[in-house]
């Protein structure tokens, strides 16, 4: 009997939860705010679904109901991707050690 591909995806999912568990425990508490902003940015990889919704339909129709939802989701996710990574970068630039005191 063949294994349903769903089971493979479920395996990836469960294993990733474990990876996430151990990786996140090793994050230093002083970087918890950047952790939140970067997880925010990467969860916007949902833009992949938005792009499919916008583009994968027939190439003659630019605006269908589903592609409009796709376009809207692209804007939302793009705000998050750019905003999330940039604000994380801005925060991380501020964390300095004692020796390099000069800004």
């Amino acid at each position: 009997m063949e294994i349903d591909p769903f089971i493979f995806r479920l395996s990836i999912f469960i294993l990733s939860i474990f990876v996430g568990y151990y990786v996140v425990w090793s994050v230093t508490p002083s970087l918890h705010t950047p952790l939140m902003s970067v997880t925010n940015a990467i969860s916007s990889v949902i833009i992949v679904g938005a792009i499919i919704a916008a583009l994968a339909g027939s190439s003659e129709v630019t605006f269908s109901t589903s592609s409009i939802f796709g376009y809207a989701a692209i804007i939302l996710a793009a705000v998050n991707i750019f905003g999330g990574f940039l604000v994380t970068q801005r925060m991380l630039q501020m964390y300095k050690k004692k020796k390099d005191k000069k800004k």
Binding site: P5, R9, F13, I14, S16, I17, V19, G20, Y21, V23, V24, W25, V27, T28, P29, S30, L31, H32, T33, L35, M36, S37, V38, N40, A41, S43, S44, V45, I46, I47, V48, G49, I51, I52, A54, L55, G57, S59, T62, S66, F69, G70, Y71, A73, I74, I75, A78, V79, N80, I81, F82, G83, G84, F85, V87, M91, L92, Y95, K96, K97
Partner: protein, 467 residues
């Protein structure tokens, strides 16, 4: 353009890059590199999606334009936002992820063919369940984050909003979600799908309104977690491993942060969610009893004198410092103290502020080197050997009652042992109790000097008096 197998491998690569991005955050030195890994992962995922669809008609131009519009808005916000507004920014961003998940789920429901999920009205059962979960969690994330954003921004009162039967209503709505998903699978009717999403929006609002201001660190972490689970739900629908991996990572990350925050307050996750902390009458009685006690108060001159003659000072910042934007003045004060050869360190309680790591970011912004900033368990023993503890904007996290009075609502919460220091300087606007609604015993100790003023103003005055 490229085969499904090849693109699946690229999605896996971007998932791994996201893991490395989080891994980088284990130390500030590697964190910047980690962020680049994250950006690379995102770039690969987007590029591969374009190539695998291979549609280069006018639609692509629209997609790129919308991508740039969103990107421009995001960049603008990222550069302009003040660091003190970080909690509401994160809450706002969570709401966008949630709404994007809802939109993608709607698009998948309306046009299942393009996602290979079957045809409209005849969607595969598993996909239908997955997209329902993705849409419901996304909707809860969206409306919950909006409420959190409004509360953090001060547009909506931070006080818990409760009404009778609230929990039963939530329970009823929660059950109705499952019933709706069940009927959706049987009938595939669009109206059921819309009501499912509408009820989920409503649940998100109901979940967050009873939660008060100081519980916000838990709420933000929880919403962070939800946004991850929503992404994972959509990932299952789209059969996309990058989304599944990322969703799982973000989901567990948010869950761990919620756990850390709850533990730091010695509260169970459910008691936070059910809300209404500090509204009980027992704590009000206590306030009345202690009103008579004498309090020593001083001014900036006394504080400066005490600190000048100290050999070690520990600073305990809290939400009040963020509100008053006192971090720069504080840093100036510390510089002056250090010039006089005084050892200065910072002690941070995990729930200080409105989100995990809030104080650390503000201190970093004020150019405080991160190796002078310590977490609760690393510094708590040092209070006994310190001359001055300077509490600025923190309250409940220093209350010794948590260690002594089993009846106190915060009993058992890990607190900073501020009272062990030779003298305590407490910058606060008034004697009013903190968020937990209980009096702080520390105010009435012999070695405590209260400095009644705005945190920023007091710090600036102390700086003047240190010369």
């Amino acid at each position: 353009m490229i085969s499904a197998n090849l693109s699946a491998i690229f999605y896996l690569v971007s998932g791994i890059l996201f893991i490395l991005a989080l891994r980088g955050l284990s130390s500030p030195d590697t964190s910047r590199q980690g962020n680049y890994f994250g950006i690379a992962g995102m770039f690969i995922a987007i590029l591969v999606t374009f190539l695998s669809i291979g549609n280069f008609s006018t639609s692509l131009i629209y997609v790129l334009v919308f991508l740039l519009i969103g990107g421009a808005i995001g960049s603008f916000i990222a550069f302009r936002i003040p660091m003190t507004a970080m909690p509401e920014l994160v809450a706002g961003f969570h709401s966008l992820v949630g709404l994007a998940a809802v939109f993608v789920a709607i698009a998948a429901f309306l046009n299942p063919d393009i996602f290979n999920l079957g045809s409209s009205g005849n969607i595969k059962l598993a996909s239908l369940i997955e997209m329902s979960i993705g849409a419901a969690v996304g909707a809860v994330t969206f409306s919950g984050s909006i409420i959190a954003f409004l509360k953090l921004r001060g547009i909506m009162s931070g006080a818990p909003i409760t009404f009778t039967g609230q929990h039963y209503l939530n329970l009823f709505l929660g059950i109705s979600i499952f019933v709706l998903i069940f009927y959706l699978c049987k009938t595939q009717t669009a109206n059921i799908y819309w009501s499912l999403i509408a009820i989920s929006f409503f649940i998100g609002i109901l979940l967050i309104i009873p939660i008060g201001g100081a519980d916000m660190p838990v709420v933000i972490s929880m919403l962070n977690s939800y946004s991850g689970w929503a992404a994972a739900g959509i990932g299952f629908t789209l059969e996309n491993s990058a989304l599944i991996i990322t969703g799982a990572l973000v989901g567990s990350s948010g869950a761990i942060l919620s756990y850390i925050m709850c533990k730091a307050m010695n509260r169970s996750f459910f008691s936070v969610i059910l809300g209404g902390f500090g509204a009980d009458n027992t704590s009000a009685d206590k306030n009345e009893k202690q009103d008579q006690k004498p309090v020593k108060s001083g001014n900036a001159e006394d504080a400066a004198f005490l600190m000048k003659n100290a050999s070690s000072v520990i600073i305990v910042p809290g939400y009040g410092m963020a509100v008053a934007q006192a971090q720069h003045a504080l840093r100036e004060m510390v510089d002056k103290l250090k010039k006089n050869g005084i050892k200065v360190t910072y002690a941070i309680h995990p729930v200080a502020g409105r989100m995990p790591g809030h104080m650390n970011v503000l201190l970093a912004e004020a150019n405080v080197p991160y190796d002078e900033v310590f977490e609760l368990e690393d510094i708590n023993n040092d209070f006994a050997n310190s001359d001055v503890a300077f509490v600025i904007g923190a309250n409940d996290v220093t209350n010794p009652v948590a260690k002594t009075d089993p009846k106190s609502p915060i009993f058992g919460m890990p607190v900073l042992d501020v009272e062990k220091s030779k003298s305590v300087l407490f910058v606060k606007r008034s004697l009013s109790p903190g968020y937990a609604g209980i009096d702080n015993e520390l105010f009435y100790k012999d070695n405590t000097l209260m400095l009644f003023s705005d945190a920023k103003k007091m710090t600036e005055d102390i700086v003047k008096n240190l010369d």
